[in-house]
């Protein structure tokens, strides 16, 4: 175990691995990635029955929130094992002529490649200016609940009662109207077995009266820049049990008074068994809150090197994800940024210090001219190396007038990890959807047909919802794990899973959050490459329990219950 930052571990305690499965000291030359599969994503949105377009309530007045929404959420709300899809929606703003209520759209995965609109049946037919959402079983009753952040009204906590949602936000204490909430994540930060809730807040914008009309060159109406507004502190709600939450933001030290937060990723950065919280802030420094194990956090972002870009300036952090893309047990933090900034790509160098490696990793140049939002690691070709997807689209619809080479609609990016964390831009060769130009915001991955090929859902700002099926050929073998906590929270959020295969030791964490305003498939997907079986699987639960499985056949979804394989 290499020496890590004293600061990361609170009062100088050495960060010791919880079990003997620490990968950090075992990092070695990575085995090469398998030859690239024939990558093909296909737009199946209308084919599967999804017909939805996001409405921002715009009328030409260019109210700031119009250009920021919204997210897309994978959730198995009816517990049938299939991933359903929720696309969030805006609401009318002054000047917008509504012809009817604007609703989100929940699509139930009916199997056989079909989705059906279940919004009303599931109790979600309610108008709200929704931005993002997070999935988690906060009451540990076995079904996934849903938190939706919303402006101009309360955010909603939808308790799932047998596939029907009931808004219990107000009585549970997490609705907090009058803010500009964006992404959210469930996290059992105090490891009491109940999921707590972290909510990003962007800027001070309680109502439309707070809008500042802005003009490009003092002539052309445009969306204002975030600097024009003060920062709105984030929120951490502690789950007190009995359906009640307590706002513990201040005492937990995660207020982040200067941060304009858009994305949140949960990852145990210092590998001490306690979940840490990383927050992407727009034009203000990133936060990396290290869990002090006493109900408080300490922001160490500047010290570990993730607060600023290489030019020592805060970047426009939009979406965020964290993953082990080198199979060496060390996290990499990726953040989508503004055009001209490249993706932020910060890698733990083994000492708990992060080095910005956008250019070195190969993700920098392809992303240079793009404005990214949704971003996530996923192994789309199941070769055992986590790849990267970025959904792009500018915030100014007239940007081409003012920025040479920058467009409003922008292509997404699919970056293949060729092994060891070097990336290759596959976008030009990954099928027509990857050539399309979007104004993408939320993006998430999920496996809609459980074929091990991870599909992608995107929501365009004031544009259509999309679902792209992964129809790549020649991908590697795979295995998916669904965790079921018993002593830990039911979702197993916070569990660390290490799968050993030909590609080495892959590390994932079960968690909520990441990307931008969105939620991906909760199940953990592992590419096994040429091997049909995982040699060994080790699960370190938040409770401290460890389950080990050996020689596990792939090609299936395996449910692992906490304590079932001690």
């Amino acid at each position: 175990m290499r020496t890590r930052l004293l600061l990361l571990t609170g009062a100088g305690l050495a960060a010791l691995p919880v079990c003997g499965c620490d990968l950090r000291s075992q990092a070695s030359a990575p085995p090469p990635s398998a030859p690239a599969a024939k990558v093909a994503f296909r737009d199946v949105t209308s084919e599967v029955g999804i017909r939805f377009a996001h409405v921002g309530g715009a009328s030409g007045k260019k109210y700031f929130p119009e250009t920021m929404g919204a997210g897309v959420i994978f959730i198995d709300y009816d517990g049938d094992g299939r991933q359903d899809l929720l696309y969030l929606n805006g609401a009318p703003l002054p000047g917008y002529r509504a012809t009817g209520p604007l609703l989100p759209a929940l699509y139930r995965n009916a199997g056989e490649g079909k989705f059906e609109d279940a919004t009303r049946a599931a109790g979600l037919a309610m108008q709200m200016y929704a931005m993002g959402g997070a999935v988690g079983d906060y009451d540990n009753d076995g079904d996934d609940d849903l938190y939706v952040t919303a402006m101009f009204g309360p955010s909603r906590l939808f308790r799932n009662d047998k596939a029907v949602f009931h808004d219990v936000g107000a009585q549970s204490g997490v609705s907090r109207p009058g803010t500009f909430p964006t992404s959210a994540a469930w996290v059992d930060y105090d490891k009491d077995g109940r999921l707590d809730l972290f909510v990003c807040n962007y800027v001070r914008y309680a109502s439309i009266k707070d809008d500042l009309p802005c003009y490009f060159r003092n002539e052309v109406r445009s969306y204002c820049i975030p600097a024009a507004y003060g920062a709105e502190p984030d929120c951490l709600y502690r789950n007190e049990g009995g359906g009640k939450f307590k706002n513990v933001t201040r005492q937990a030290g995660v207020e982040g008074a200067d941060g304009k937060s858009l994305g949140v990723a949960i990852w145990d950065l210092n590998d001490d068994g306690w979940p840490d919280i990383s927050v992407a802030n727009d034009t203000t420094p990133t936060y990396a809150y290290i869990n002090q194990k006493d109900g408080t956090f300490k922001n160490v972002a500047a010290a570990i090197g993730v607060a600023y870009g290489v030019k020592a300036a805060a970047k426009a952090g939009m979406g965020i994800d964290i993953g082990d893309d080198r199979n060496n047990g060390l996290p990499t933090m990726v953040m989508s940024n503004f055009s001209g900034e490249m993706l932020g790509f910060y890698r733990d160098d083994g000492t708990g210090v992060y080095q910005e490696q956008s250019v070195e990793s190969g993700v920098g140049r392809p992303s240079e001219q793009l404005l990214g939002f949704g971003v996530f690691f996923f192994d789309y070709d199941s070769d055992g190396w986590q790849d990267l997807f970025v959904a792009n689209g500018h915030v100014q619809d007239n940007v081409a007038l003012f920025n040479e080479g920058v467009t409003y609609e922008q292509p997404p990016l699919l970056l293949r990890n060729t092994g060891g964390g070097r990336y290759q831009d596959m976008s030009p060769r990954a099928g027509p959807p990857l050539q399309s130009r979007l104004v993408a915001r939320g993006a998430a991955w999920g496996d809609i047909d459980d074929d091990g090929r991870l599909d992608v859902a995107i929501l365009n700002n004031q544009g259509p919802a999309l679902l792209w099926r992964n129809e790549s050929e020649g991908i590697g073998h795979w295995l998916k794990l669904r965790l079921a906590g018993t002593r830990s929270n039911r979702n197993g959020y916070g569990a660390r899973v290490i799968v050993e295969s030909a590609a080495g030791k892959q590390l994932r964490e079960a968690r909520s959050g990441s990307s931008y305003c969105s939620a991906s498939d909760q199940r953990l997907h592992f590419g096994l490459g040429s091997e049909e079986r995982a040699r060994r699987i080790e699960i370190r639960w938040p409770s401290g329990a460890v389950d080990v499985l050996k020689d596990v056949p792939g090609g299936r979804v395996l449910t692992v219950t906490e304590g079932g394989h001690p």
């Binding site: 600097a227 507004y229 500047a302 600023y308 490249m342 920025n403």
Partner: protein, 441 residues
């Protein structure tokens, strides 16, 4: 061995012995001679400076004698004023230029001179007054307009700067490279890189030998993520001005961005060259440090950072990098303090940017001006705060918050004596667009 050879060897040995014995003495003498030579050079330099000072004094006496004989001599007043500006005796210079203005109010030169003198003295509000007053008589004077553009840009009043440039673009000065450069800089501040680039390219076409234009163009290209193009453009600027330290630093930044071992080495060399040209430049020194850090030469970087902090305790980049290093070394308290300092600076910059946007988008709203003035005073920029507070006062005459900030700013700028005069000056201008109701946005 023949006798002759023996004698020869003996002589040689003697020479060697004598040489060996006298070598330290020779070195000592040489060193002493070097010291003496330097002392002579220093004395000569001092003497030259003394002569120059004496000549200047004599010139000044001559000018003043001339003025005593002809106190209304416009040219002499202007010349004497310029003399005082060179010597940084701004108060006297202002008096002389004001006299010149009184004598020939129709002449543009005194207004230009007053504007420039006030700028040099960081009395931006007075500079504003002088240029505005001059423009009333000379509405199309390019120097005065560019002066006002500069001041407006300094205050982040880009809207006003833009309108002035638009005015110039309607005149015969439309193709003047200086006008195009100023225009580009405003576009850049407004995040309109397309038009900034267009103006800079037009300026380069008019004045292709002007390295500054190419350097600015390169900056715009870098900011929009086109590093290779930016690299090409800055090299063109350096062909024209190979010894320009600022251009070299920009090149070093681009080289550092490539992140290869070779490019980092090249960046270090470029930054070192910049430092050799601009001795003592903290920017150049920091650029070398950044390269050291990228190359993971941590010990050397730390030594240099500590040295930089000793000389420039407020250098923000040094605080950040040193703070990170200290924290990693377990010097948590020291390191965190530096990091907190840096974060505070970042937060202030963000707030300042926000207030600038508010002033630009709500030019008739005095609150943003008052808030900005307060922030500027609090953060050591009272000279700018005076301009801003005066604008707030103009928008709401007698506004107590504005008066409070004006008095604080004047006090901080050692100009408290001007408070009553400035607080009572209702004639201080508002831009034309602000005087027309309903066009404030």
């Amino acid at each position: 061995m023949p006798m002759r050879l023996r004698l020869l060897l003996g002589a040689l040995a003697l020479v060697v012995v004598v040489f060996a014995v006298t070598l330290p003495m020779q070195q000592k003498l040489r060193s002493r001679a070097e010291v003496l030579r330097r002392e002579v050079e220093e004395s000569e330099k001092d003497a030259r400076e003394e002569l120059a000072t004496r000549a200047k004094r004599q010139e000044r006496v001559k000018l003043l004698e001339g003025l005593a004989a002809a106190p209304e001599d416009f040219d002499l007043l202007m010349k004497t004023g310029s003399f005082y500006v060179q010597d940084r005796e701004y108060e006297d210079a202002v008096f002389l230029f004001q006299e010149a203005r009184r004598i020939r109010p129709e002449a543009v030169e005194p207004y230009r001179a007053l504007y420039q003198t006030y700028i040099a003295d960081a009395r931006y509000d007075r500079s504003y007054d002088a240029a505005t007053e001059g423009r009333k008589r000379h509405p199309d004077d390019v120097e005065l307009i560019l002066g006002l553009v500069h001041l407006n840009t300094l205050m982040a009043w880009n809207r006003e700067a833009r309108e002035l440039i638009n005015h110039l673009k309607q005149t015969t000065e439309a193709d003047n490279p200086r006008v195009l450069i100023a225009s580009a800089m405003i576009y850049r501040q407004l995040a309109d890189t397309r038009h900034a680039e267009e103006d800079l390219k037009a300026a380069a076409a008019k004045d292709p030998q002007n390295g500054k234009i190419h350097a600015l163009l390169s900056k715009v290209q870098m900011e929009t993520g086109r590093e290779s193009l930016a690299m090409e453009t800055i090299r063109r600027a350096l062909e024209l001005e190979p010894e320009n330290g600022q251009y070299l630093l920009h090149l070093a930044e681009l080289q550092r961005g490539l992140r290869t071992p070779e490019s980092l080495q090249a960046a270090k060399k470029t930054a070192e060259k910049a430092l050799s040209i601009e001795l003592g430049s903290s920017d150049a020194y920091f650029a070398i440090i950044q390269t050291q850090l990228a190359q993971k030469h941590t010990e050397e970087a730390q030594r240099m950072l500590e040295s930089l902090r000793r000389r420039h305790p407020d250098h923000p980049g040094a605080a950040l990098e040193l703070g990170k290093l200290y924290v990693r070394q377990g010097r948590a308290v020291e390191g965190q303090k530096l990091l907190d300092d840096y974060s505070r600076g970042v937060a202030i910059a963000d707030r300042s940017k926000g207030l600038s946007v508010r002033m630009a988008m709500q030019p008739k709203n005095p609150e943003a001006y008052v808030e900005m003035a307060e922030m500027l005073v609090d953060n050591g920029a009272p000279e700018k705060a005076i301009v801003i507070a005066r604008r707030a006062l103009q928008l709401v005459p007698g506004s107590r918050p504005a008066l409070l900030q004006l008095s604080r700013a004047l006090e901080s700028a050692d100009r408290a004596g001007e408070f009553l005069e400035l607080a009572r000056r209702p004639e201080w201008h508002l831009p034309e667009f602000m005087e027309t109701p309903g066009t404030g946005r």
